[in-house]
Structure formats: structure tokens, C-alpha cells
């Protein structure tokens, strides 16, 4: 032991040695356009509000506070977006380059909207906009971490029944310990943290459905039960459909959450159709849906009230129909080009025309300020998320990943379209959030989780899935069916 081997070449620290950056030019260009868009929006908003301030028509908005922090909030958000981009570049994964800019633009529009609403509407960390910014940054962090860290889907695939059990437990917890807010029992308090479990529940639902449907696809496609002219798969495999229907109805009855029920059932039918390519399933599902809706309408006052408001909001325009009527006026004021950011929403008697505008009616607010042109562009952004998710699904290596990608993007897209349609009085109003735009931590975090998982799934270099296992019982059942 006289000489130690000489090391001449410098050694990178172990942490940095494994990093092989892969440039993402498309994402950077798109982020650049999004940043420019948001900057112009911020300038337009600031100028409008200052002009209004100068005219002595404050309209209940604390303009002085806005002028000092408006631009810096946007700057912080853009830096957070670029940081997320940088981390994705450093991770070296070949994941999708369209989702982050699209979602980032939606989040930025949300920030612009929250800046111009009265800041005392809500907020744990200062005003409304500051709180939304904090949540947006946490959401971006979640998105990036999930996109970089998740390299295998085994933890989702193998434990689908565990996930389903966790989801049902979450539902029951909310039912037992939940807090009633506005007639619906949706909010769960866990110590200092409160959240809406149904946002997380939708992710769990997609994971479970993807696992269940991909495992049983060959059996679902088979038709052995004849019901008149309709041919159905073996009876045991119809059970999940019935169970799903029952759960959706249960959410309506117990939680009084029409939006979540509609979303869950719609996503279930869409995934079932993607799995089997059978229109008959969808037809049966819709029949079940109509029957269930009719039943609920007969039995429950809160459902009845929602539908009555939808049919004729002007019957009680200053009471029950107030929100819906004001939202319609907002869309009408907006017209085609909109009134401009910061110019909408004259207050009625010193208060906001639309209560809950930051959670349930951001689409109406955007419709007023950006007009038809603006909200079409925003719907286009949601469409991009759906199209991209379906594209990731089409190039996935196996059924589980395909269904997971399709389900995750559809759950976000369908939610956006349900609440947009509710705001426009196309369907009865349901109190779910507009993904990435509505104020609120649970919604932002759950949707960030979804996009992060889509990014992780879009990487084709993901390790091969482990050999799947099929239960002996199922196997035996199937063999009997085939014989």
C-alpha cells in the first residue's frame, strides 16, 4: 500500500453526474408566446384599472393595492413557469412539449382574473390573487415533480383496488366529517388544511377505471347475454357499470354534488367506449343516466331546484336564479370582443353581481371581459389538453397506459366543458371548478397532478410494465365463458 491510484480527471458530484439535459425548443417557444400574451394582458388590465381609478370610479376594487403588486405577481408566475421548463429540460425525458405551455397560459389567465376581482373574496395568504399565485406555484411544483419522478406505472397498475378503496374511504370521510358549504357537503377539514376531496377522487377514479377496464377488456368485448336485440357482455361484467351508476347517484344524494356525479359518470362512459368501441354501452349508459336523473328530480328538492332554475332563471331573477341571470347578463355585456380585462363587472349596490364568481363563474367573468373570441380561445386550450392526452393514449405501449392517458385528459376536459355549459345555461348549473382557472387549492393541485402524470406517460422511454397478473377466480370465470 505505497501508492494510491492517481485520479487526474475531475469528478462531477454524484448528483450532477446523471443529468443529461435534453432541449425542449417547442416548449420554450410556446412558453415565450404565452409569456408575451400574459404580459400584454397584464398591461391592458393595469391601464384599464388605473384609468378607472383616475376617473374616480373605483367600483369597490382596491386599485392602489393593485398598482403596486400586479406586475410582480405575474413576473413571479412566469419565472415559476420557466423554472418548471428548466427542470424538465434537465430531467432529459422525452415528454410532451405542448401541455405545460397550454396549462401555464390558463393559469396565467386565472392570475389576471384574480388580480382584478375584489381581493377580500377569499384567501389564506394575503389577498385573492396572492393566494392563487401561491397555489399556482405549488401546483407547478407538483406537476414538474410528478413529470420528472414517475418512471413506472406499476404503483398505479398493481394497486388499483387499493386506490379504489382509498377513494371510497375519502368519500365516506367527507360524508361523515365534511363541512357543509352552500348546501353541498364537499369540504373536508384536516387540521389546518381544508380541501375538496372530489377533486382528488376524480384522479383516483380514472386510475381505477383504467386498471379495471384494461384488465377485463377481452371479456367486456365478448357478447354472451342477449337482451332482445341488444347483445351484452357476460352479466358479471355489467356489475361495475351498475356500481358506477349507483356511486354517481350516491354522490348526488349524499354530497349533493351534481357536478362531480355528472363528471364521474361521463368519464366512465367515455372510457368504457374507448375500451370496447361499442356504442351500445354508451346507449345503455345514457338510458341509465336519464332514468337516474328523472328519479333524482322526483325525489330530491335540491335537484329539482337546480333544474327549475335552469329551465327558467328569470322566474325568480333576484332570488334563486340570481347567479345564472347575472352570468347571462355578463356574457351579453361581453359581446364578441369583450369589454376588456378589468372593465367588466360593474358592482350592483356595492357588491359583486355574481356571488362565487372566483370559483363557479370565472367563465362568465372571462366571457364578459374577453368576449366570445376570448372564451372560444380558452375552450380551445382545453381542447388542446384533450387532443394531446388522446394522442399520448394512442401511442401508449399497452391498454392500461392508453386508458389512463385518455381518462386523465378527458376528466380535465369534460370538467371544463360541464362548468362552461353550466355558466352558459346550456345544462343545469353544477358547482364544479373550471380547471386551472377557478380559485382554489384542491382544484389546482388535482389538475396539476393529472397533467404531471400525462407528461410522465408521454415519455416513450418509460420502463416496460411488469408482467400483469390476473386473478385465478377471474381466469376460471372467463375459461368457462369461452368454452
Amino acid at each position: 500500500m505505497t501508492a494510491t491510484p492517481a485520479r487526474t480527471e475531475p469528478q462531477l458530484p454524484a448528483l450532477l453526474a446523471g443529468i443529461r439535459p435534453r432541449p425542449r425548443w417547442r416548449e420554450l417557444v410556446l412558453l415565450g408566446i404565452a409569456t408575451l400574451t400574459l404580459t400584454v394582458g397584464g398591461v391592458s388590465l393595469g391601464a384599464t384599472l388605473r384609468a378607472r381609478d383616475a376617473a374616480g370610479d373605483g367600483g369597490g376594487i382596491p386599485d392602489a393595492a393593485f398598482a403596486s403588486y400586479g406586475a410582480s405577481l405575474l413576473a413571479i408566475y412566469v419565472v415559476a413557469l420557466l423554472l418548471a421548463h428548466a427542470v424538465l429540460v434537465l430531467s432529459g425525458r422525452r415528454s410532451d412539449q405542448v401541455l405545460l405551455p397550454s396549462v401555464g397560459l390558463l393559469g396565467g389567465i386565472s392570475l389576471l382574473l384574480m388580480e382584478r376581482l375584489p381581493q377580500d373574496l377569499a384567501g389564506q395568504f394575503g389577498g385573492l390573487a396572492q393566494t392563487q399565485l401561491v397555489w399556482l406555484i405549488i401546483a407547478l411544483a407538483v406537476l414538474t415533480i410528478v413529470a420528472v419522478v414517475v418512471r413506472s406505472d406499476a404503483w398505479l397498475r398493481l394497486y388499483k383496488y387499493t386506490w379504489a378503496a382509498a377513494g371510497i374511504a375519502l368519500l365516506l370521510l367527507t360524508f361523515v366529517f365534511g363541512r357543509d358549504v352552500g348546501g353541498a357537503r364537499l369540504t373536508l377539514d384536516l387540521g389546518p388544511v381544508s380541501g375538496q376531496p372530489s377533486e382528488l377522487l376524480k384522479v383516483i377514479l380514472v386510475v381505477f377505471l383504467a386498471g379495471y377496464l384494461s384488465e377485463n377488456r377481452p371479456l367486456l368485448v365478448e357478447q354472451s347475454t342477449a337482451l332482445g336485440p341488444i347483445r351484452l357482455p357476460p352479466v358479471p361484467y355489467l356489475a361495475p357499470m351498475a356500481a358506477m351508476w349507483a356511486i354517481a347517484l350516491g354522490i348526488v344524494v349524499v354530497q349533493r354534488d351534481l357536478g362531480a356525479a355528472l363528471l364521474f359518470f361521463a368519464v366512465f362512459l367515455l372510457l368504457l367506449y374507448i375500451t370496447t368501441a361499442r356504442a351500445s354501452f354508451v346507449a345503455i349508459g345514457i338510458v341509465l343516466f336519464v332514468l337516474g336523473s328523472a328519479l333524482m328530480y322526483r325525489l330530491f328538492a335540491h335537484v329539482q331546484q337546480r333544474v327549475d332554475i335552469w329551465i327558467d332563471p328569470f322566474k325568480d331573477a333576484s332570488g334563486a336564479g340570481y347567479q345564472v341571470v347575472q352570468a347571462l347578463y355578463a356574457f351579453a355585456r361581453g359581446g364578441i370582443l369583450g369589454t376588456g380585462l378589468g372593465n367588466g363587472l360593474p358592482t350592483v349596490g356595492g357588491r359583486l353581481p355574481i356571488p362565487e364568481i372566483h370559483t363557479d363563474f370565472p367563465f362568465a367573468a372571462l366571457g364578459e371581459e374577453l368576449g366570445l373570441i376570448g372564451i372560444l380561445a380558452i375552450l380551445g386550450l382545453y381542447l388542446v389538453v384533450i387532443v394531446r392526452g388522446l394522442r399520448i393514449a394512442a401511442s401508449a405501449a399497452d391498454d392500461f397506459r392508453a386508458l389512463l392517458a385518455a381518462g386523465l385528459s378527458l376528466v380535465v376536459g369534460v370538467q371544463a366543458f360541464i362548468i362552461a355549459a353550466g355558466n352558459l345555461k346550456l345544462i343545469p348549473l353544477t358547482g364544479i371548478t373550471l380547471p386551472f382557472i377557478s380559485y382554489g387549492g384542491s382544484s389546482l393541485l388535482a389538475n396539476a397532478l393529472v397533467v404531471g402524470m400525462l407528461l410522465a406517460l408521454s415519455d416513450r422511454g418509460v420502463e416496460a410494465p411488469p408482467p400483469p397478473r390476473r386473478g385465478r377466480r377471474l381466469r376460471a370465470l372467463f375459461d368457462r365463458g369461452a368454452a
Binding site: L30, V43, P465
Partner: protein, 145 residues
């Protein structure tokens, strides 16, 4: 209309215009991506990816694009030749009918397995399921499009 109001109006339109510029840029990326995918030959209906093959034929890691009918066995006339001491000459056939893949065991001596359980004659098989013949393990995968 004074200059301030006019420039504010232009700013509003610029914001809307930039939203559409962003959408246009995204759609261009999507279309380019779809075109690139369309150029790739996409005639295969699925693929078999050899996970383990102790005898070396087919070699582990090999990927076979599948037609509607793919025969598997030790005989050299099969589409996929499996050199394994437990494989029969005409061992199994993989077919795509309608919307589903089926695996049929051709009365082989040592049987064909899906996910570790032996099949009896014809069995439906989904993407992600693992076929085992002798010691050769090949999962069925979706075609990459």
C-alpha cells in the same frame, strides 16, 4: 376617442390576437406531430416483445410486428420460430378478429400460458398480457402509432 382609449383598445385586441397566435402555434406542433406519425409504417396490428428467451431463438429483446394471423412454434415454417425444448412444432396461433386478439393453443404438449395460467384451447388476450411458451415469455403490446 383620445389616444389613451385608442391604445387601450389596441392592447385589448392584441391580447386576444396573442391568445390565437398561441393556439395557432400549438396546432402547428400538433399537426406536424400527426404528420410525422402518419409517415411511419403503421400496418402492424400489434407487436410481440420478447422478454425472456433462454435458448436465444427468438432473441430476447426482439420485437415482432403482428399480422392478423401469427403462428408460433418450433417448426421453421411458423411466423415466429421458438427454439425451446418445451415448445411443440406447431404450438399456438395468435389471431386478431373483430376488435380482439385471441390466442389458440394448437394441442401443444406442454401448453400455452397467459399471465402464468394455462389456457384451454382458445382464449382472448389483451394488450399487456404475457404469453409464455416453454421458457419464452412474450407480452403482447399495442402497435406504436
Amino acid at each position: 376617442m383620445d389616444a389613451f382609449a385608442a391604445s387601450l383598445w389596441l392592447l385589448r385586441l392584441l391580447f386576444l390576437g396573442l391568445l390565437y397566435l398561441f393556439l395557432f402555434a400549438v396546432v402547428r406542433v400538433l399537426v406536424r406531430d400527426l404528420r410525422a406519425a402518419a409517415r411511419e409504417p403503421a400496418t402492424e396490428l400489434g407487436r410481440l416483445h420478447v422478454l425472456a428467451s433462454p435458448a436465444g431463438e427468438p432473441p430476447a429483446g426482439a420485437v415482432f410486428g403482428l399480422d392478423a394471423v401469427t403462428t408460433i412454434g418450433r417448426d421453421v415454417n411458423n411466423a415466429i420460430v421458438v427454439e425451446d425444448q418445451f415448445a411443440s412444432a406447431d404450438h399456438a396461433v395468435l389471431t386478431f378478429r373483430g376488435r380482439t386478439w385471441y390466442l389458440e393453443d394448437l394441442a401443444s404438449t406442454n401448453g400455452t400460458y397467459i399471465n402464468g395460467s394455462r389456457i384451454d384451447g382458445l382464449a382472448a388476450i389483451g394488450f399487456g398480457d404475457e404469453i409464455q411458451i416453454g421458457q419464452v415469455r412474450v407480452p403482447l403490446e399495442r402497435a406504436r402509432r
